[in-house]
Amino acid sequence: MISSTTVLFVLLLITVTAYYIGLRRSLAVAGGQEHVRKLHSRPPYYGAMTALWCGIPALIIFFFWQVFEADIITNLVVSGLPDNIRDLPADQINLIVNDIRNMAAGNIVSTQAGQVIQDAATHYDQLQKTSHGALAVVVVCVCILGLVIVRQKISKSTRARNQVERIILWLLIACSTIAIFTTVGIVLSVLYEAIRFFKAVSVTEFLFGLSWSPQIAIRSDQVGSSGAFGAVPVFTGTLLISAIAMAVAVPIGLMSAIYMSEYANKTFRAAAKPLMEILAGIPTVVYGFFAALVVAPVIRDTGQWIGLDVSSESALAAGLVMGIMIIPFVSSLSDDMINAVPQELRDGAYGLGATKSETIKQVVLPAALPGIVGSILLAISRAIGETMIVVMAAGLTANLTLNPLKTVTTVTVQIVTLLVGDQEFDSPKTLAAFALGLLLFLVTLCLNIIALIVVRKYREQYE
């Protein structure tokens, strides 16, 4: 079987060759190196033009082929199955197709494979081989065709540079639209699954229900067969942990930003700032491990010592560590905002006889307030969306409580636990994760947009 990597490699080789063929051709048309001036563009542009026309169409075909290959082959195989299998319901056919695919890939098959499935697997394998071979042939043909046609067309007056530049410009535009496609992709994929979830569970039950236990029984007649999908406990858990985190991060972050920008001398700043940045660069999984290994036991033991009943997965531990993670975020953003306050304002306050701290508290901070609020909003959105710390240090049970010593769960923890591991993709349990994801996306989106507008307005104010 010809692998896709090989095809891509051959494609690359032909494209590179095309560059040199185009280059040589242009020189030949001009009549040698000394007559280059007679060409419309410089020779490398002819090379680049040939290479682009040779490589891009072939790449596009390659891409679409890869995308649609699996579906087409599956349909072909399914239509080749005996009638009694094709009449089965869709989900059973899916299972069979899965078996066929696994078998064709040489994996162990879950059920005892019948003769029919074995035949289908061979069929699948054959089709795949044919498809790969055909893809290789088609791509190489298109490549060479492009090469030959463009080579023929090269003349002294061919506007090669303009063509190349236009193609590059379109490539640049395509690259810059990926951000839009990503957003659209996020919204569509999350929304689509969330709507399917809301067909099974009503929106009001999800938004206002007080009990969250997303267990779905295997048989429908089992006790507790339908789970409870009231997300309020999950929201309160998220808010509780975020609030603890902000209670740690905002005072410490803000005070260190003030000290850094207003008091610290150059050497102190040069030493302390990179260290604070290290705090920002540590992966969240490391914070999570730290929370679970060190902070949670310390908090639990302290609680026991003073006679409090502290859960070993308390919201306090997760929130505290999350707060530490957010400190550098708050401090660097507030630092920017404080530095953006014009020096004249400070000088005015000093001129009136204010001390430094009075200037900061009564002039600088009020002036920087919109910016600081914006950065705190961004920090909140970060805390809400933070995953690894809470997955490792907070619990799974959804308690409706505001007690920071109890176990609570968060939106992100629920998404991870619902989606990690084997799941069937259609159960409300899995789809609930997407509903939570949609909510998470919307909330953080609102916070971000408000924060960005506030910060931008603030920046403009002093420019």
Binding site: I168, A179, G185, I252, L275, P283, V391, I415
Partner: protein, 430 residues
């Protein structure tokens, strides 16, 4: 006008007196405020120190592993000479242990004796025999890895007595270990397995190499996609894009995507790449695609700043001698902006290396023993490995998790250090 009316109020107190009276208090408030700021910075530095101390303190001992020297008899009755790959190596280890401790009787005692040595010993012997078949029939003294509990005991993480809660070691086992130690058959050696092996359920056989390879492939995909795309987008937005609604929309999107929680990108990857396009689960290819979408905003924003920093005079000069706009950018602006863009890309890569949550969504949490060899092999990455080990109940995984964290942090420091170096080396003031 009478000058006195300014300086003295009606009841005869001059303002300067009020100022002087309050001055001490104001100065105290000033000092208090200043100390609070310093305390805030010191607090965050203490957190940092605590984090590192606890991780290094827990992790350094994973660099060593306890080995036990046992006299192995490569019994020809258990390994067929013509087919050494299917021998009963476990049996050889057990038999050798029994000859070393002939007084051990009874099934349960034998079992607890066998527990002293790692199950990896059999694989080690198999490898040796496959490399050198003449070993069959000979007797050798061989260092084999000890079981993880023995390892923990030797390192002092488990106590010999009093640990009634777990009750890991029987008195007999402790006696045997004492005898082995007295005969100098127990030794701590550098733990090479940790750096060369893939994941394992047995802590003494588990290593980070599989995760490092997975991270490498994932980041390679991310870099190859996100850097060219990010640079192209930054150049277009800074140099070509007309100021209209469309480009405003792109800008808002980029800024917003930079702040979207990473787990949402995981949901996107699950729904689009896995369920819609049918790409394989757990593959570095998909992980790389998801991380590309996640790091793109960072790289685009850094790239735009770098393009902005190139002074307009460069562009004017190039245009002045007759270069086209594209030539100006490709030949002059881009090379000058490249160091800044590279720095941004490295920082983006460092973020991608530490990212865990979106990769959980696309199935990179599977238990994978084999070292991945390509972009579509099932793989896991370093931070996910940390997460997986942190969940394991064995005591020996605590030190391995910390050590894996250290490996991850070392990579991150190296990348960030490179970024800082590049910035310093190529920074230009115009």
């Amino acid at each position: 006008m009478n000058r006195r009316s300014y300086s003295v109020s009606d009841n005869g107190i001059r303002p300067i007196d009020i100022v002087k009276k309050n001055l001490a208090g104001r100065r105290r408030a000033e000092r208090r405020f200043r100390r609070m700021g310093l305390a805030a910075i010191i607090a965050s530095l203490i957190f940092l120190a605590l984090l590192f101390v606890s991780i290094i303190g827990n992790g350094y001992s994973a660099l060593f592993q306890t080995y036990i020297k046992i006299d192995i008899f490569f019994d020809p009755g258990k390994i067929a000479k013509n087919d050494p790959s299917n021998g009963d190596y476990q049996g050889i280890v057990k038999a050798s242990l029994r000859t070393m401790f002939p007084d051990v009787k009874g099934r349960s005692e034998k079992r607890s004796l066998n527990k002293l040595v790692s199950s990896g010993a059999a694989f080690q012997l198999r490898k040796m025999v496959l490399a050198d078949p003449t070993l069959i029939g000979q007797k050798r003294s061989i260092w084999v890895p000890a079981d993880d509990d023995v390892d923990m005991l030797m390192k002092g993480h488990l106590s010999r007595q009093g640990d009634t809660r777990s009750g890991r070691f029987s008195d007999k086992q402790l006696q045997w270990l004492d005898r082995l130690e007295a005969e100098e058959r127990v030794r701590k050696k550098i733990n090479i397995t940790f750096f060369t092996a893939g994941d394992s359920r047995e802590p003494e056989l588990a290593g980070v190499w599989g995760a490092v390879a997975g991270s490498f492939f994932t980041l390679l995909v991310t870099l190859m996609l996100s850097f060219p795309i990010g640079v192209a987008a930054a150049v277009y937005l800074e140099e070509f894009a007309p100021k209209n609604r469309w480009t405003d929309l792109i800008e808002v999107n980029i800024n917003n995507l930079a702040a979207v929680p990473s787990i949402v990108f995981g949901l996107l990857g699950l729904a689009v790449f896995l369920n819609f396009f049918g790409l394989p689960r757990s593959a570095p290819l998909v992980g790389g695609l998801v991380l590309t979408l996640m790091t793109l905003p960072t790289i685009i924003i850094a790239g735009r700043a770098a393009v902005q920093a190139v002074p307009p005079s460069i562009r004017d000069a190039a245009l002045g001698v007759g270069a086209s706009k594209m030539q100006t950018i490709m030949h002059h602006v881009l090379p000058l902006a490249m160091p800044g863009m590279l720095t941004g890309a490295i920082i983006g890569m460092a973020r991608a290396l530490g990212e865990t949550a979106p990769l959980l969504m696309i199935g990179m949490v599977a238990f994978i023993v084999d070292i991945p060899g390509g972009f579509t092999d099932p793989a896991t990455v370093l931070p996910v490995q940390v997460y997986l080990w942190a969940d394991s109940p064995e005591r020996a995984f605590v030190e391995r998790t910390s050590a894996a964290t250290l490996v991850l942090l070392i990579f991150l420091f190296a990348m960030n250090g490179l970024a800082v170096y590049l910035r310093k080396r190529f920074e230009r003031r115009w």
